[in-house]
């Protein structure tokens, strides 16, 4: 059921679908509908209880939020488009996805025009129109409004409502990732929020009104949130009467409640890896391994003299026994990777050179580069010793064990890695953001809204420690990559973008600004009778298509 919608779809054809507007020709009902669906019920029936280890608390979808809040937003609200499990854009509130071909986006990428559905109403009965879209896009960049992300939105100018079903705007500069960003930009009702004295404090933020498949029901703080079916939904579904999010803070108890049947779906943070075998053995449960978008790696602070020599980075990579780390420490569940690009992204480069664990080769590289072993067994060159700290969150057991493992293999090639862990708040504060670490053990999601643009992580202008605006905490700087990223952000043609981001991955693989360990895998679990469930790691939500769920 978690298989691709169209099995046998090649990456290339998927890619052409993504941009060419062919997706718009597919029915909007394709939102995650399984290929062999049985007939869903005529009227919404039953309820689904989703257990979450964090509590959703932010209900205005434009305000700062975490992943679990997205579960609520995807159910109550709609965006102009959505991105499905194959990475294809499908219309949501829009009537079609704008592309170069259909003229929705001009050749220079600066003029956008979006046609909207005419059959959408808000949960309170008011009609949805282009004014709501205009209001939403303007609210995000309103300096008094506490907006979540503003990247992309800050380039939008001259928003014009042509008709209730058409809106146009101009971009300050061409920015291709904006299409992806809009799949996470949920449209809010103008007729309610424009009237609010302060949109940051509006009652709407506590009892939202959207256009989505589910309406606000009732919330018991610290316990449960109930959403109820919206019978007037313009898209497919909903087939269930109630969608309930239950907050179960303890991960062990989250799994226990799945075992005992108290919850129907294990939501974030899913089933812990050590319980995977036990989960698979449960009767009447469907347990799946789902690739996650985040990549675990040893992040190097490239401003440190130890890491500036590419030979050192290569040698360290040869000295990583990744398969042992994955099999012994991580129960064999994650997959080794050579790139930051998530495996299920259409832009994933699958033919990068594979890493090899080879200590002799590592020593050879260091010898050739002139790193000489000193009296204490540590190599050095020009007064720089191959000794550095590695940091991660205190108490992250698997990472701590990985550190000890890596420490030993590094020692065998004359490199001393000291473990220097700290509490999460310290670790991921200025220490991380302003690149005060030597090296870090970290899991990072590189893509924003599934767009392949990684400017924020790998562009020279994104080094916060050097006054840049972004999260390039490894301080990686390669003019070639900068140029490619700039070009990729301006390019709308999917084939051309494909070539660009493949090249970026090749250069990054050879530069090794960080040492990739593996891409994460999450263990999803649900009751076997729940149909229509489709994991979609192009979103941050496991309930993104709850409108299509039903009990068989």
């Amino acid at each position: 059921m978690t298989k691709d919608l169209k099995t046998g779809l090649s990456r290339r054809s998927a890619l052409s679908l993504m941009g060419a507007g062919a997706a718009a020709l597919l029915t909007p009902n394709l939102l995650g509908k399984p290929a062999f669906a049985q007939t869903p019920p005529d009227a919404p029936t039953g309820r689904v209880i989703v257990g979450l280890s964090q509590e959703p608390t932010v209900f205005n979808p434009l305000m700062p939020k975490i992943e679990v809040d997205d579960n609520v937003h995807f159910s109550i609200f709609d965006a102009l488009f959505r991105i499905n499990e194959n990475g294809e854009f499908v219309p949501n509130l829009a009537a079609e996805v704008p592309t170069l071909e259909n003229g929705g986006i001009s050749e220079d990428g600066l003029s956008w025009s979006v046609k909207l559905r005419d059959d959408v109403t808000w949960h309170d009965g008011e009609a949805f129109t282009a004014d709501d879209v205009k209001f939403t896009l303007e609210l995000i960049v309103n300096p008094d409004f506490r907006a979540w992300r503003t990247t992309g939105h800050d380039l939008v100018r001259d928003i014009e409502v042509v008709s209730p079903t058409e809106i146009t705007w101009r971009m300050e500069e061409p920015f291709a990732p904006y299409l992806s960003f809009l799949t996470e930009t949920f449209i809010v009702p103008e007729h309610i929020l424009a009237a609010a004295e302060d949109p940051n404090e509006a009652p709407f933020n506590r009892e939202p009104i959207g256009t989505g498949a589910f309406k606000w029901g009732q919330r018991t703080a610290g316990d449960a949130l109930t959403l109820v079916a919206n019978p007037d939904y313009h898209g497919e579904g909903p087939y269930i009467e109630e969608l309930i999010f239950r907050y179960i803070p303890d991960m062990t108890v989250l799994f226990t409640q799945f075992q005992s049947g108290a919850i129907d779906v294990v939501g974030r943070s899913y089933i812990t890896q050590d319980n995977y075998e036990a989960a698979k053995a449960l009767p009447d449960r469907q347990v799946d391994l789902v690739p996650a978008p985040s990549v675990e790696s040893i992040y190097l602070n490239l401003e440190r003299p130890q890491f500036q020599d590419p030979a050192v980075r290569q040698a360290l990579y040869y000295a990583l026994d990744r398969s042992a780390i994955i099999d012994v420490l991580y129960y064999g569940l994650p997959e080794a990777t050579e790139t930051f690009m998530p495996r299920q992204s259409a832009y994933y480069h699958d033919s990068l050179p594979a890493q090899e664990f080879n200590l002799d080769r590592a020593r050879e590289i260091l010898d050739q580069a002139g790193w000489v072993t000193g009296s204490d067994g540590i190599r050095e060159k020009d007064g720089v010793r191959l000794e550095f700290n590695n940091s991660t969150t205190t108490g992250a057991h698997l990472r701590e064990q990985t550190q000890q493992f890596v420490q030993q293999t590094f020692a065998e090639i004359g490199v001393r890695m000291n473990i220097e862990n700290m509490p999460a708040a310290v670790m991921w504060g200025d220490f991380w953001v302003l690149s005060q670490f030597d090296s870090a053990m970290v899991g990072i999601t590189y893509l924003i809204a599934a767009d392949p643009d990684v400017t924020n992580r790998l562009h020279t202008d994104a080094i916060a420690a050097q006054g840049g605006n972004g999260s390039n905490t490894g301080q990686y700087s390669n003019p070639e990559v900068d140029a490619l990223l700039d070009e990729g952000a301006r390019t709308f043609d999917p084939e051309a973008r494909m070539a660009i981001y493949r090249e970026v991955q090749e250069i990054v693989r050879s530069d090794l600004p960080f040492l990739p360990l593996f891409s994460y895998t999450q263990v999803y679990g649900r009751k076997a009778g729940l149909d229509g469930f489709v994991p979609n790691t192009n979103t941050r939500s496991e309930t993104w298509n709850a409108a299509s769920w039903y009990w068989s």
Partner: protein, 316 residues
């Protein structure tokens, strides 16, 4: 009496101010802050985080933030939760009932059982049952609550299927019976530790009372042993318990951190942990002031109660 009340009131206010200053300072000294949860958010730039911090007023000097918070607090405005946008008083009020139910029932169990074990231990000192109670109390005090909780869930929920594995009610069934069913395990687990505390206190207080002259006199007069214990011993032994209750009562409302987490109980302890981990300053400060006020009031009531019960103590 009026002078006593006035002095206690002034002391309390000074205490509250000190608590709030220390609390506010420590809270803000903890690295991270309300925006730390977005540190690894790929789409949020440092500029976004700085902008949001400024919009929330977090970029101002600490004393300015404190004075603003304090002046609002004095006017009865406890602030608004960063996490869910509700007034802090509403947030607290929503979590109190669950905690009151859990703590109330576990305290009833703990006081009843603990008092009985304590009295029995003292009157049957060094008997087999006294040893069992003593060792039992030591074990209950030294084993972490979450361990008891998880073992309980494993045995009674997963293996036997008798009790639910957490939460306060089954979705779709909010009946009293259903809530009571969910209440059994967390309240018993929580009571275990409190039984241990109460029984140890009660035992030593009873022993103190038993060795008093008036007990000897009563026995010499030929008063039946049962009556000696119930009237003379227990009556006097309960006196120090009033002070202990004064210390324990605030926890009725401030909740149990670990038990509420293990059993997904939507109470104040859980709220405190979550608010702390998300650096929801207004709620953490609200909870701090709430429990400080409760502690002050409960201790005051306990002092007055002891004075009323024990004619040897006078309030001055």
């Amino acid at each position: 009496m009026a002078a006593f009340l006035l002095r206690r009131l002034l002391q309390s206010i000074v205490l509250l101010v000190i608590v709030s200053i220390i609390g506010f300072t420590v809270l803000n000294l903890i690295p991270g802050g309300p925006l730390a949860q977005y540190a690894l958010d790929p789409g949020m730039t440092e500029a976004d985080r700085l902008r949001i911090a400024a919009q929330m007023g977090l970029d101002r000097p600490l004393y300015v933030q404190y004075l603003e918070w304090a002046s609002r607090m004095v006017q009865g405005d406890w602030g608004t939760s960063y996490r869910d946008g509700n007034p802090v008083t509403t947030v607290i009020a929503r979590h109190v009932p669950a905690t009151l139910l859990l703590m109330g029932s576990s305290t009833v169990i703990a006081v009843a059982v603990g008092t009985w074990i304590g009295i029995r231990g003292a009157t049957h000192r060094n008997s087999a049952s006294d040893y069992v109670a003593t060792v039992g109390a030591m074990i209950a005090l030294s084993i972490p609550t979450f361990w008891f909780g998880l073992i309980g869930i494993y045995v009674f929920s997963l293996r036997l299927g008798w009790l639910p594995s957490g939460n306060m009610y089954t979705i779709g069934d909010g009946s009293v019976l259903n809530v009571l069913h969910h209440l059994i395990m967390p309240s018993v687990v929580l009571a275990l530790v409190h039984i241990a505390i109460w029984s140890r206190f009660m035992r030593s207080a009873t022993l103190d009372a038993i060795s008093q002259e008036f007990v000897k006199t009563a026995r010499a007069k030929g008063v039946p042993e049962r009556r000696v214990v119930m009237k003379h011993v227990v009556g006097n032994a309960l006196l120090p318990m009033i002070s202990l209750a004064g210390v324990q009562v605030p926890s009725l409302l401030t909740g149990a951190l670990v038990t509420e987490t293990v059993f997904s109980w939507p109470g104040m302890g859980r709220l405190f942990l979550d608010s702390l981990s998300y650096s929801d300053y207004p709620v953490v400060m609200g909870l701090l002031m709430f429990s400080a006020i409760l502690t002050i009031v409960a201790n005051f009531i306990a002092d007055v109660a002891v004075a009323l019960v024990d004619p040897r103590i006078r309030l001055a």
